[in-house]
């Protein structure tokens, strides 16, 4: 086939690798960004997209591999260097200075000057207005940035990119928080950029947007480059297959159990702007996986059920009894436990000892006449440390000194010691080594075997598919699919999570 000679790429990552501690975030990843082309970067949560973007932005320095700008190898020692090389990054939630005017946000550190090196405010406003003209949007350069919608904030960031003649614009899930009309406007702006010869790297989970906007795509999986090529001959399903395409391992041993009566019954739960009309049940002995993309509203549903956040509509029944919403105390009394997503911030008091942490949810039971017995705390912690095989030098050591996996076991012990009837676990194995991961899975499986209803939120598809008796999938705040174990495949779950429910 005869191809016209490709224009030379503006920016190339060549064989880039980056690790954080033991986690290999990127290994041997290459990508080339060409003038006038919109390039999509695809991959599941945790595939390494953010790391790649931050490498381009000069925030991360690659461990190995090269960064080439106009064919010349460069080394970014900070965001300012990447900016100087003409690379602009627009983050999902732009970082603006709310107290400063839009124009000052656009020209931070590069304000036009007049005599005596004073800032020429008039010229700055005129330049900014001219940039907005080019983008075809109407914003007052003199108004403060505080209070702008996310879409407008992104426009300000794009104007900033234009103002220093950025030749590469990286957009990290720019459409996640936008309305349909705002997305349209953003696409118009991107077309303007492309027409002006800018290379665009576009990260999005919404495949229809990718096909509407981009000419080329690169797919990452587990920090590795798995495919790149033009999009014209591709289908959404084909891309999803490339993004997941993984063998299910035998790491996840879910014992078969007979589902008993319904323990958790969530009916039409709605929190405006966050999730809408979410209904599901979890039975005794069942593990129900809650899947979906980051930001789909899974954690928010869990928080609402546990009473941390209020809801606008809907009700929850535990063990057939109506739960008073908006009160974690009531949720705990009803027999719900919540192992939160962020272990260190929300699950533990990291500076307190292991035994204190284990006892934290059982203080009422452990105290007499309002006084806490140190010995009963210790006894409780010893029991559970043994059962869950928590590895620590001594139970009096601060929880912060434990490995991630053992910290997670401490959080689990805290709830299990209350003998919950419903346990909600949010990303139970994130950041945990493989061995401990298997132990956590075994534990969850045993719990289900003992008749606990387990709701497991997880972004790891293999984990969901291996562990769950049923998989619920959320997409943009709605429950879009309920898949029994037998029908749950990576493709079906991933497609549902991307908003494409198989009929």
């Amino acid at each position: 086939m005869d191809l016209p000679p490709d224009p030379p790429p503006l920016v190339v990552l060549d064989g880039v690798a980056k690790s954080f501690g033991a986690v290999q975030a990127l290994s041997d990843v290459s990508i080339a960004l060409v003038a006038g082309e919109a390039h999509a970067l695809l991959g599941e949560n945790g595939a390494g997209k953010s790391t790649l973007i931050k490498t381009l932005a000069g925030v991360h320095r690659p461990d190995s591999g090269r960064v080439l700008v106009d064919g010349v190898e460069v080394r970014f020692s900070g965001p300012a260097d990447a900016k100087a090389a003409g690379i602009a990054v627009i983050y999902q939630e732009p970082m603006l200075f709310g107290d400063l005017s839009i124009a000052e946000n656009v020209y931070t550190g590069r304000q036009p000057l007049k005599a005596g090196r004073r800032i020429d405010t008039k010229a700055m406003h005129a330049h900014t207005a001219a940039l907005f003209d080019r983008l075809g949007v109407v914003l007052d350069p003199a108004r403060p940035a505080r209070g702008l919608s996310i879409a407008d904030q992104q426009v300000v960031e794009i104007a900033k990119a234009l103002s220093f003649d950025a030749r590469v614009v990286v957009m990290d899930e720019p459409t996640a928080a936008l309305s349909a009309r705002e997305v349209e406007r953003l696409f118009d702006v991107v077309e303007v950029l492309r027409a002006q010869g800018t290379a665009v790297l576009f990260v999005s989970h919404r495949l229809d947007e990718v096909f509407a906007l981009c000419q080329r795509a690169t797919v990452l999986r587990d920090g590795r480059h798995v495919w790149d090529g033009p999009l014209e001959d591709e289908t959404p399903d084909g891309l999803v297959r490339r993004m997941v395409g993984r063998e299910l391992s035998a790491l996840f041993p879910k014992q078969d159990t007979d589902a008993g009566e319904v323990l958790l019954d969530v009916r039409r739960l709605t929190r405006e702007g966050v999730f809408t009309d979410v209904s599901f049940t979890v039975r005794a002995g069942e593990i129900v996986g809650l899947s979906g993309l980051v930001g789909a509203g899974r954690t928010e549903v869990a928080r609402a059920v546990f009473g941390i956040d209020g809801v606008d509509a809907g009700e929850v029944f535990v063990n057939g009894r109506k739960l008073k919403l908006g009160s974690p105390t009531a949720a705990m009394a009803a027999g719900i436990g919540l192992v939160p997503e962020d272990r260190r911030q929300q699950g533990l008091v990291v500076d307190a000892s292991v035994e204190r942490n284990v006892a934290l949810a059982s203080l009422g039971r452990l105290s007499r006449f309002g006084l806490l017995s140190r010995r009963s705390e210790q006894r409780l912690a010893q029991d559970w440390a043994l059962k869950l095989r928590i590895k620590t030098a001594r139970l009096g050591a601060p929880a912060a000194t434990l490995s991630g996996g053992n910290q997670q076991k401490v959080v689990l012990a805290k709830w299990l010691s209350r003998r919950p009837s419903v346990l909600i676990v949010d990303e139970p194995t994130r950041g945990i080594d493989v061995g401990t991961k298997a132990e956590v899975h075994r534990l969850l499986s045993e719990l289900a075997g003992e008749g606990v209803a387990v709701l497991m939120i997880s972004s790891e598809l293999p984990e969901v598919l291996g562990m769950a008796d049923r998989v619920l999938v959320m997409h943009e705040g709605r429950l879009v699919d309920d898949i029994p174990r037998a029908d749950a495949t990576e493709e079906r779950v991933a497609l549902a999570a991307a908003g494409r429910v198989a009929s």
Binding site: F97, R117, R143, G147
Partner: protein, 338 residues
């Protein structure tokens, strides 16, 4: 289409910005006018000169403090810096009777610069919270001051006459110290408004994380803010000598709280990002004027502190309410109407 007419959002923001300074002017009128009825001499030329003179030291310090506070930091050591600078300057004048006044002023300023550099290094490079650093150096500088002074006091008789003449002198009917204060305030205001590094200070206070991503050299800018605050406090120490003539190691004790109060009353957000030097200086004038009015109205001295404190709380409350209101206004109406 370019926006020609200023948007509603801009107008609201402008209005609130001006309201802060305007509010102080109104408050000033509210305290001065009734006092003038009780004692007309209060608003005669000499009375007004005294008001300005009394406020000038705090106003100079407030100008320096504003630079620090807009970066979301605070400099509590300014009173001690003033003290050590005042004492050393006075002592040098006493030991070297022939020394030109300008040299003495520069010496005081230099001492302040060194103190400011210590604060700046600890905050910007050592990454210690400024509240802790400057609370520490508040005691350190004062302690060094006492150690150097060893209980001595330097009196007007030991100081050059020209210095004291400057302290009480006038130019075109305006006290020289007030003119110097105006110059410092004008310079600081110009720096914060019209220079890139000055605007960076606002950016840092507004969103520290974004400031790093925007490539602003945050540690260097924060260091500079503390350096300038210290320098200004050093200059204020030298002016203190000229004004009062009698200096011991306790000069300026407790002044830092008046300064912070003036800055906050003047509309500088205590969490950084907004506020002006002119506002802070007006805040100093307002607090000083209230103190003078209470004297004229023969209100017992201990009420003065309570009233100043209540005013401070009132100012912060109004400031928060205005900020919340502004945020709501800005969010409420989209700006697409232009």
């Amino acid at each position: 289409m370019t926006t020609a007419a200023p948007s509603r959002a801009r107008r609201v923001a402008d209005l609130v910005g001006r309201a802060r300074e305007l509010g102080i002017v109104v408050a000033l009128a509210l305290v001065v006018i009734p006092t003038a009825f009780v004692n007309p001499r209060f608003v005669e030329a000499q009375g007004i000169r005294d008001l300005l003179l009394n406020a000038s030291v705090v106003a100079v310090l407030a100008a320096g403090q504003t630079l620090v506070v807009v970066t979301r930091n605070v400099d509590l050591s300014v009173g001690s810096v003033l003290g050590i600078s005042a004492f050393l300057t006075a002592q040098t004048f006493a030991d070297h009777p022939g020394m030109p006044i300008v040299v003495g002023m520069l010496l005081g300023t230099l001492i302040g610069l060194v103190c400011g550099a210590v604060n700046g290094l600890l905050v910007a490079v050592g990454r210690v919270p400024s509240l802790v650093v400057t609370l520490g150096t508040l005691y350190v500088f004062r302690g060094v001051d006492f150690a150097l002074a060893q209980g001595t006091q330097i009196n007007a008789t030991n100081l050059p006459d020209e210095l004291l003449a400057m302290g009480n002198g006038r130019l075109f009917g305006i006290p020289v110290l007030v003119l110097i204060t105006l110059a410092v305030v004008a310079a600081a205001a110009l720096y914060l408004r019209s220079y890139r590094s000055g605007r960076d200070l606002y950016a840092i206070g507004s969103n520290p994380e974004a400031a790093v991503l925007a490539g602003i050299p945050v540690p260097r800018r924060v260091f500079t803010a503390f350096l300038l605050s210290g320098t200004v406090a050093g200059l204020a120490g030298a002016l203190w000598v000229a004004r009062y003539g009698t200096v011991d190691a306790a000069a300026g004790t407790g002044l830092e709280l008046q300064v912070v109060a003036a800055v906050v009353v003047g509309g500088v957000a205590i969490f950084g990002g907004s506020g002006t030097v002119v506002g802070a200086a007006l805040g100093a004038l307002l607090l000083g004027t209230i103190a003078s009015c209470l004297v004229v109205l023969r209100i017992p001295a201990f009420w003065q502190q309570a009233i100043s404190g209540a005013l401070l709380i009132g100012a912060i409350t109004v400031d928060r309410l205005l900020a919340l209101r502004l945020a709501r206004e800005l969010r409420g109406r989209s700006d697409h109407d232009g």
